[in-house]
């Protein structure tokens, strides 16, 4: 059975890049990834690009071809994959399967979203396409509203508090301070979150991830070949994906993200690992409640206990299981199509021991959890440091 490793990566700074276009951002990340892999562009055999709503954000579909073109990679196959905010994670999985299929040894995977070329109104409509247009957005359910419905139910069922959700945001802003590529470099307090206005109760402005421009890329290689090219390839020891109903109302539970639970369970089975074997996790905190749902679905804590677990600092950089040491979607920023790939980039940085001030000590196993929409798609990837890394 073929195995897949990451041998290079690149990521733009995340933020509002008024001065950079979609194609400039992805070229920047892609070039960095190819250079860091120590390969030539001509060595890349196929490309997968994750982008959620380029059609609405920049009037451009067919962005797989656009990325290959901008990186000068024609005529290699170039495919765009889209599963809403999980587009990046699904792009990773596509690249992974392409190598496992035996058709390619070296594949480039990119993720990008250029969100600030349209106004906030248009951006909200574009993002609304991640949920169910006909039964959710039509009735006025914004994206925050969907997560607010989950948050309210979680509070009602488990006693989760707004302060506990705020603790997610405080932690992730703190971690983002240590990440030079993050959108925000500003410490916030629980009070700041509590005082920020409601967007959709109980979620407040500082419970929500921002609108962000950014791109990320990784170079994947079949593992035995990777070991010849690269001193410390990062092996992808599991790549899993699952789905749930598109509309939140049709889910079996509002307080459990089933797709993420299924993907995580399969990933752990595949890698023969347990949640306690993971040294750090990048999870999909598009809203603070989403991180609480994520750590419960993955199994870092008991169901319903994600709030207190976070409040007690167990997911902090020096905690039991550091979550979103990069700053997460809240602190680092959330260019939707880029997020899943950027999570893999953070995993690589950590597993190479290059994360400087935000380094998780002795990190050997990393997890990335990426969610589309209100949970209809989830991917979970497990990454492993090269043997013998100090």
């Amino acid at each position: 059975m073929r195995s897949v490793s990451i041998i290079g990566f690149g990521c733009t700074t995340f933020g509002e890049h008024w001065d950079k276009s979609f194609r400039q951002l992805i070229a920047e990340a892609g070039i960095e990834a190819i250079m860091s892999a120590g390969i030539e562009g001509k060595d890349v055999e196929a490309l997968f690009g994750g982008s959620m709503a380029s059609g609405r954000f920049i009037g451009q579909e067919h962005v797989g071809a656009l990325i290959a073109d901008q990186l000068g990679l024609n005529p290699i196959p170039a495919t765009r994959v889209e599963d809403a905010c999980a587009s990046g994670g699904v792009a990773l999985r596509s690249g992974y399967m392409a190598i496992k299929s035996g058709d390619y040894d070296i594949v480039a995977v990119g993720g990008i979203e250029k969100m600030t070329d349209v106004g906030t109104d248009q951006a909200a409509i574009a993002l609304g396409g991640a949920g169910d247009q006909e039964t959710e957005l039509f009735h006025g359910a914004s994206f925050p509203a969907l997560y607010a419905l989950m948050a309210r139910k979680h509070m009602h069922r488990f006693g989760t508090t707004e302060e506990q959700m705020a603790a997610v945001s405080v932690k992730n802003h703190h971690n983002a301070m240590l990440n030079p590529k993050a959108q925000f470099h500003r410490e916030i307090t629980v009070d700041d979150v509590m005082r920020s206005g409601y967007i959709a109760s109980p979620l407040k402005l500082l419970d929500c991830s921002p609108i962000t421009d950014g791109a990320a890329a990784v170079i994947m290689c079949e593992t035995s070949k990777a070991k010849k090219i690269c001193q410390q390839p990062i092996e992808i020891i599991a790549s899993e994906q699952a789905s749930d109903t598109l509309a939140l109302m049709n889910r079996k539970s509002l307080v459990e993200t089933l797709a993420a639970k299924v993907a995580a369970k399969k990933a752990f089975e595949k890698a023969k690992l347990k949640p306690c074997d993971v040294d750090f996790a990048e999870v999909h905190d598009c809203f603070t409640i989403a991180e609480i749902l994520a750590i419960e679905a993955i199994g870092f804590c008991e169901k319903g206990k994600g709030g207190p677990f976070t409040e007690q600092g167990k997911t902090a950089l020096n905690g039991e299981i550091p979550v979103n040491v990069s700053g997460g979607l809240k602190g680092k920023g959330h260019p939707v199509g880029a997020t899943g790939v950027a999570q893999a980039v953070e995993a690589c940085i950590q597993l190479l021991g290059k994360a400087e001030k935000r380094q998780v000590k002795d990190a050997k196993i990393g997890l990335a959890h990426n969610v589309g929409g209100s949970g209809a798609t989830a991917t979970v990837h497990l990454f492993k440091a090269a043997e013998g890394r100090k």
């Binding site: 109104d121 914004s142 139910k153 009602h156 206005g197 939140l248």
Partner: protein
């Protein structure tokens, strides 16, 4: 926006005006909107048209302060997931209700309203909303 498109509004008449859904006679599950396949029974399923009951209870709710385009003038407004009496669920606005009565498990019933003016030059979208009943 495709929302304002006539074919879409026309196709959604039964659903949005009359809560038309369907029901699987094999497993007894009600679906709203209607489904082509019963996810429990698949080809063993026997789906028949069924109007949904007009009453139910709130499963969860939120008060929206920043609404999407077409809803700006209505903020703040309540969005809820409602479980109807036959266990089918839908997402809807809660209107005509005292704010403190909008809570989980509150009993609600259907009313008929204008939904939004997403396309000011197009046809107006009407449909169901719900209100709390004591």
């Amino acid at each position: 926006m495709p929302d304002g498109s006539l074919p879409l509004i026309w196709r959604k008449f039964g659903e949005r005006y009359d809560l038309d859904g369907n029901f699987c006679e094999n497993c007894g599950t009600a679906f709203f909107p209607e489904r082509k396949v019963c996810p429990n029974c698949r080809r063993k399923g026997k789906l028949v048209a069924r109007k949904m009951p007009k009453a139910g209870k709130i499963v969860s709710f939120t008060e929206v302060f920043t609404g999407p385009a077409g809803f700006e003038h209505e903020t703040p407004y309540f969005i809820a997931i409602v479980e109807l009496e036959n266990k089918a669920r839908l997402l809807t606005q809660i209107v005509d209700s005292e704010k403190e009565k909008v809570k989980i498990d509150a009993r609600v019933e259907k009313v008929f309203r204008k939904i939004s003016d997403i396309d000011p030059e197009g046809p107006i979208a009407y449909g169901y909303k719900f209100k709390v009943v004591d």
